[in-house]
Amino acid sequence: MYAKLILRSARRSARDYLIYLVTMTLCVALFYAFLSVSSRFYKPDIGVEYDFTLLSGGMKMAICAVTLLLLFLIRFVNHYMLRSRQKEFALEAILGMDQRTIAGLFFAETLLMGGVSVVLGIGLGAVCSQFITALLLTSYGQPYRPAWTLFPDTVLWTVGFFLLSFLAVGLFQTRAIRRTRILSMLTAGRENEAPLTQSRWMQGVAVLYLALAAVMTVQAGRMLYFYGDSRFPAPVQVMFWANILAPAGLLAWTAVWAVRRRKGDFPVLVLGLTAGALVCILAAASVPVTQRRYMLAFGEGGVSQALTALLVHLLFLLCGVIWLASTLLVWRKERSAACRYQGTNLFFFGQMISKLRTTSKTMSLVSITLVLSIFLFMAAPVLVGWADGYLEARSMYDIQIYSRYNNVYHEADLPRDGYQAVTAFLSEKGIETAADRTFSLYLPRREDFHQRVKYDFPAAAISLSDYNALRTMLGLEPVELAEGEFTTQWQTIASEEEREQFLAEHPTVSTDAGVLTLAEQAWHDDPMGETLYNSYTDVVYVFPDSVCQQLLPVMRCRYSMTAQPLAYETARALEQFFIDHYPEQAPGGVNYSIRLRTLQVNSTRAGNFVLQAAMIYGAVVLMVICLTVLSLQQLLDAGQYRYRFSVLRKLGVGEKEIGRLVVRQLGFWFGLPVGAAALAGGAVVGCFVLVVQAEIGAYIGFGALAVQLGITAAVLTLLLGCYFVSTWAMFRRAIEA
């Protein structure tokens, strides 16, 4: 009998909570698909030069951490189901059923629904995992071949994880049923929510925000005290003072409001604080921008502090905007009779205001989560493109051996080595080189050898023949120089202004072999590897060979291209061999290093894939949670809505007007949080792009990034559209005559 009851209830619930079931199935599918990459049985064909075990552990942790967020969704839906069925539970209790049994039945029903979504999800996940494999193989530059397998360990992980989640949430809910009084269950839902003005949520948020604003004012004051200098240009001074005055302004506004306070003008305070939060965001966002632009000394600590402040202001801004929009709705209804009594507005206001108290809180949380999701979606291509582009720039050669003289204090200790031990290793392993060049980097003036101040580090020089040998190795055209001339080679990350300023300031360069003049072709910026440059510099001089012979060689490099890609194990062995023979910190102070394309590509691609997969997975899960919550919030009260709209019909309101009302209602509940999140997300992404614009310009390109961001935005809009349309269709069905 009980089994029949559970089955019947679950069947009915499945119809009512279709969106939840679909969402859970999607989440399980995504979980399985992403996690399948970490399976012991997963053996993609990514080539001998790559090692896959690097990826698995990180992946598992990242996916599980993100999926814990799903507990929130499961709890939200269970809570709603519980609330909407309290009357039914009360009736069963009155008929003599033990409350423990009722709770057990409810638990079994939710578990059954969860079980169905886990089974469906694993099936769908097996299909989705093909996309993940394709993504993985693409990031390793391999062609995709489908392989249909169900991984037993991933299935166990998936079932175990979701079963535990359902159990945890379900047990909590059954405890709630057991403890609720029958009378309370019987009268549940009869009363409206208390008005929005009686909500303590925004008051709590405002108090917390003001406390944080006080801390931020003090912190910004400390930053000015320790790092401020009257010689800084005006934009830096504005940045310092804006970060003190903007949060201090919030406190001042609150003080003025408290002195002149009248009953019911709390919204005035929130309005002021929300406007102030916007100013504070601009002030905080200016910190990383000016720090990079003017090379300010407060470094990453100061930037982190500013970004934390930015986050706090942004969170308050979202809460404030949503609360104010809700308050505006109440205010508009109360103040404007013309608006209130226009057509079906009264009904619309009733629908909105009766749920504002809890929904404005949920909408704020949804909005904040959406911003995070949008940021993850948008930042993923930037970070991955950055890492990929950087990989290209730093692994130009199969083998890069180089030294640094930063800790060498005697010229006698400078390296003269040709790295013959490496040659021996390569021949022993039977590795042939297609191109190989050992060369020195020189200091134009010997006196600069002892210049070790970070900001005044001298640019190094390379001889023309070495430079051209490297260019040939990379498939670039050699360059020519007349006697007495020099040219420059630039890192990709250097900006155009930086380069132009440098060249304007250096029409000639004085060296130990005389003064050289800038050649007609004054610069080259083809990527040639970042170890070609001296520490802290983005430029290397190219001098005629005769000049270099008279200069002090300070660094010794060897770049090679192998005939065949180095296998992963061989690369590891070579790296270990090099470290044993050329320690990172040699006795004379020379730092030796080796970079092997195989190892760099492997670790970067693995890291990149985990980063990309975790960010996209996190973003999708967060987005799906948000949209499902928004959707369920409307659909789970469909019973109430059916009654209300039927009353409207009886009062003579036509279907066309009812359709318009539904769109208005859903538009408000979807539009407000999504609109606020889109604006805030756009601002966050804009700020992020502004901060890392140099890297974007160097490694990704603004055009390519704009296309990627555009595609992402289009996909997100499509996803939102799908949710909105399906919610609208189900809502219409629920209130049908």
Partner: protein
């Protein structure tokens, strides 16, 4: 007196093929302006179906219904809502009030839907509330007031836009006897003071005794008709009971 509602050979058939139910077989009658008519009958006699057909919530299978000379069975589906909104007022057994609006707003909603100028809405609501003695609860929500008060609010909502016909479906069905009596007194007052035309469906003899004329339905047809004329309400009530006894099943109401 002018004829406000006229029904000509109404039929309503549910189902198709082999399982056909004739809810209304053949009903014809007329209601004059300012008349208070009651419709009685046992369960399944077709009284609620009849009311649904008159109120255009349901369509007739055959026959014609004229309200103010307009054939409502010929109105296009798209225009029915407007017709209901402008010409009819409803009072339901379960009140049909919106829980999200206050009592005052529930009444005002009808005016708003009928595009009454905003500055006229509140004075009209106040005036109607005063007439029905609910001015003290206008700011309260339906769940904060008694069943009787809720039904008076429903009456106010049904009357506020001056409908040509007030339709009441078992208006006292969910009320205790005291609240029912108060509501019926209100109905009587509305009828006398405002000259409202009321068509009330009920199975309760006491409730029906407040009407001027009663139509008794049996098996989808008018069985008989009673007119109060100059009789006292008590005498009319006795006569109703007698008819109910003849109808069969109504006797249980008497005892």
């Amino acid at each position: 007196m002018k004829e406000i509602l006229k029904l000509e050979h109404i039929q309503k058939i549910y189902g198709n093929g082999g399982s056909i139910t004739k809810a209304i077989r053949d009903i014809s009658f007329a209601v004059e302006e300012g008349e208070f008519v009651g419709i009685m009958g046992a369960s399944g006699s077709g009284k609620t179906t009849l009311l649904n057909c008159i109120s255009t919530i349901d369509a007739v299978s055959a026959g014609h219904i004229y309200l103010d000379g307009q054939d409502v069975t010929a109105i296009k589906p798209g225009d029915l809502a407007r017709f209901r909104r402008e010409k009819l007022g409803f009072v339901f057994q379960d009140f049909n009030l919106l829980d999200t609006l206050t009592i005052g707003e529930n009444i005002a909603l009808v005016l708003a839907i009928n595009k009454t100028p905003a500055h006229q809405v509140e004075p009209q609501v106040q005036a109607m509330a005063q007439r029905l003695n609910i001015q003290g609860i206008l700011e309260k929500y339906p769940y904060q007031v008694s069943g009787g008060q809720r039904q008076r609010c429903a009456c106010a909502r049904a009357l506020i836009h001056g409908p040509r016909l007030l339709l009441a479906d078992e208006p006292t069905g969910a009320l205790d006897s005291h609240s029912a009596q108060m509501l019926l007194t209100t109905f009587e007052g509305i009828h006398r003071q405002l000259g409202a035309t009321i068509l009330m469906v009920t199975h309760d003899a006491f409730t029906a005794s407040y009407a001027q004329r009663i139509l008794f339905l049996r098996d989808g047809e008018i069985f008989t008709e009673l007119r109060r004329g100059g009789q006292t309400r008590g005498a009319f009530f006795e006569k109703i009971l007698q008819v109910l006894t003849m109808l069969g099943g109504g006797g249980t109401d008497v005892r």
